[in-house]
Amino acid sequence: MRQIAVLTDSTSDISKELRDEFGLDYLKMAVTVDGKEYPASLDYEQYTPSWIYGEMRKGTRVKTVQVTVEEFTKKFTEYLEKGMDIVYVACSSALSGSYNTGRVVAEELLPNYPDAKIACVDARNSSMGEGFLAIEASNLAKEGKSVEEIVATLENDRDYYHQWCATETLTYLARAGRVAAGKAFFGNMLGMKPILISNLKGENFAIKKVRGRKSSIEELANEVANNIVDPENQMIAVLHADDESAANMLKEAILAKVNVKGVYMGIIGPIIGASVGPGTVVAYFKGKKLEL
């Protein structure tokens, strides 16, 4: 039986530790800061997260580049050559074109590998929402599930991964065209924190706003508690964009309300970070089926 490689991309914000633990690889996107392009590495070899968020705070425009055809061709070929099938867990197609590019490249390559399969799955989520789906894929592959079985499970389970995110502002998301929000979320609103979920379509959806940092963190913890299912048996993720103390506060607030198996603490990577902006804090977990 052919082995299955599970790939994801730079938006999954999945740490080296987790990638090693679950045998995952990822396709690199890129960021341009002040016109200069850098690979969107999740291991930060060329710059620190603080540097990139610092630039954003200074007003430097940070743009993102989706996974290129070249990157897809290189990585897909690498695993196909090893005789493996591929499951690519892609960033929400509502946020990135990578999912589509991946499918196009797969169709280009597959005629050369008649026995191989490449499945691209739209995570309809990003960051660790996407990361958790990739971990699930890896576990299914280990259990010996087929590519088709894995895809079917992921396409069902993606409706159960929750994102509860508080940003400083919607300015970055709006500028990047990556948010669905009514006009209630714009304008001069000092101290107001928009709360974003990832909806069934995989869009960042501004669902409410909360006044003040502490209150917004408390609100996120409440939503985790209200929506989580089977907390004792799952790891959840808390990530931040250059605001570690907020992430720690959120972790403590969640633990005060629910007994989870554990919390992966992490950093929102450069791609998602460029969209949500510095000061963002977010929790990902598996819970009730999404309603929106």
């Binding site: 304008g187 001069n188 000092l190 101290g191 006044r211």
Partner: protein, 551 residues
């Protein structure tokens, strides 16, 4: 003159005189201010309140008819708490007079009794030592002395003696008055009105200003037959204006008597403004016979410019425009706020307020202004942000009068509270109960710190301040004074309960301070309260150098 019967025409003259005397004392009354904050506008508020009654009063001999219409006008013009109480006082008076052709002095005294009773009822928790006490005690102590052959002048004189005594005692009844060393301003205003009555009865005549709005040049428009046609009956006449060059060939320009000319205009028109400057005469008059106005003018010279506009058409057009505009904008919920300062007004508009009425501390919005604002809207519900405790009553009166929408007055006590309430809500929400809940949660726990300048040397709550010195108020209590605006503000912030746990501090920068001052305040706050997120908005308000919303 001995008067034992009061009719509508007399009451009209009395109120004109009352207004005239109130105007003379307006400034003095404004200065009778308990609080060192320059919101000393009781005189102006009462003047504008009574003025609206006089302006809208009908020419009628019937005292009941007059009093009812007058009281209605006063109610619509009511500004500030004293204004609102005054309007209720006159309403009470009108309740007694309403079914009478004329009244006796005793009946008039009965009306004054009903006046204070109605005024008391209008206030949720009546405070003694205010205009309420003055209007009550004045007639209580006078009433037993009223005789059947007493004339009006004697009644008013007695009333004034008691009223002044009562006014002098107000500081004994209200500690804030005593501390500030002043008597109650509303009571003083009421006395000024009654003094005007007495001066009229003594034979004095007060000039009443005739003001008119300036009309700019109007665009020539095609007149629709719907507006004015063969069957129309003219209602408003012509707005007639001209500039007359007096001619030596026709008269002696130096001797041309403008008052005589005005007297003529009064026979055929109203809203008269007429001025003479050397040999030029400028006239504005509303008349049904403009040709007679021009004809008369030509007896003295030639017209340099002239125009006569059909005001029925003007009126119909503005009404039609208003209507069309209104129909286009039906909303489930519309928002009206009272704010002062260009930056703040812009901010409120950007957050979804449909109408921002310019007003606040020194210019209390009247009931009528609220009603006018409501009329411009086409909504099932109207939510009002008064942003000042002195405006709440006027807003609530407007709410009670207005029938075309359900009006909700939320109790925002400052522009900062209003700002937080607005920024919490979603303008697209259509369920009014949900929206009101959101707004309420936005107001809760918001503390307002305002810094202004003391208008005189004084001491309040043990805080001693010099004239023009920065003083800071937390919500409604003066807590700090300092020679520096920054230090005064910081002292006040330090007194806010649980200040170290506060998350957001918004600074509205006023006109009176520089950008550097605002930056300095922000960085000082940042350094002292690192947990709070601090931001500055250029509010451009007057009176307050800084207004801070803390929550």
């Amino acid at each position: 003159m001995e008067i034992r019967k009061i009719d509508g025409a007399l009451l009209n003259d009395l109120f004109k005189a009352g207004l005239g005397n109130l105007k003379l004392q307006e400034q003095t009354i404004n200065e009778l201010n308990v609080f060192p904050v320059p919101d000393g506008d009781t005189g102006s508020n009462m003047r504008m309140t009574v003025e609206n009654g006089v302006k809208n009063a009908p020419e009628t001999e019937n005292v009941g008819e007059f009093a009812t219409a007058f009281a209605r006008g006063v109610l619509l013009g009511a500004r500030g708490n004293s204004g609102v109480i005054t309007s209720q006082y006159f309403k009470g008076i009108s309740l007694v007079l309403k079914d009478h052709e004329t009244v006796t002095i005793r009946e008039f005294a009965d009306a004054l009794v009903q006046g204070y009773k109605t005024a008391y009822k209008a206030v949720v928790t009546p405070t003694e030592g205010t205009i309420l006490t003055v209007c009550r005690e004045a007639i209580e102590l006078t009433y037993e002395k009223v005789t059947d052959d007493m004339d009006l002048e004697a009644l008013i004189k007695l009333w004034l003696v008691q009223a002044k005594k009562s006014l002098e005692e107000t500081p004994e009844k209200l500690a804030v008055l005593k501390e500030a060393g002043v008597v109650d301003s509303g009571g003083a205003g009421l006395i000024a009105i009654f003094e005007g009555f007495l001066r009229y009865l003594g034979g004095e005549i007060f000039e009443t200003d005739i003001s008119s709005s300036e009309h700019g040049p109007t665009q020539v428009k095609m007149v629709s037959k719907d507006i004015f046609n063969a069957d129309s009956v003219m209602q408003f006449g012509y707005c007639t204006e001209f500039i007359l060059q007096l001619q030596n060939s026709k008269c002696n320009p130096a001797e041309f008597d403008i008052d005589e000319f005005i007297a003529f205009l009064e026979t055929i028109g109203n809203s008269i403004v007429a001025l003479k400057d050397e040999d030029i005469v400028k006239v504005h008059v509303h008349s049904f016979e403009p040709w007679r106005v021009f004809q008369k003018a030509q007896q003295y010279g030639e017209l340099v410019t002239l125009k006569a506009e059909n005001m029925d058409i003007q009126n119909a057009q503005t009404e039609a425009e208003k209507k069309a505009k209104k129909a286009a904008q039906h909303k489930a919920i519309a928002y009206v706020a009272v704010c002062q300062g260009e930056g703040i007004i812009e901010l409120y508009k950007s957050l979804g307020c449909d109408i921002v009425v310019n007003g606040g501390q020194t210019m209390n919005t009247s009931t009528e202004e609220f009603v006018e604002a409501f009329k411009e809207l086409n909504a099932d519900n109207i939510i009002v942000f008064p942003n000042n405790k002195n405006i709440v009553m006027a807003a609530e009166q407007a709410r009670d009068i207005y029938k075309d929408a359900k009006v909700h007055v939320v109790k925002t006590g400052s522009v900062a509270q209003g700002y937080f309430a607005l920024s919490m809500m979603d303008v697209d929400e259509t369920d009014v109960e949900t929206q009101l809940e959101t707004i309420q949660s936005g107001i809760e726990n918001v503390t307002t710190v305002s810094t202004t300048r003391s208008i005189r040397d004084t001491s309040v709550n043990g805080v001693v301040c010099k004239e023009n010195e920065p003083i800071s108020i937390v919500d409604h209590t003066l807590v700090a004074a300092d020679s520096s605006v920054i230090d005064s503000t910081m002292k006040a912030i330090a007194t806010v309960e649980d200040i170290d746990d506060k998350e957001v501090i918004v600074i509205f920068k006023g006109q009176g301070v520089s950008e550097d001052d605002a930056n300095e305040l922000q960085s000082v706050i940042n350094a002292k309260y690192p947990c709070a997120e601090v931001g500055t908005i250029d509010g451009q308000q007057d009176v307050y150098d800084f207004i801070l919303g803390i929550c």
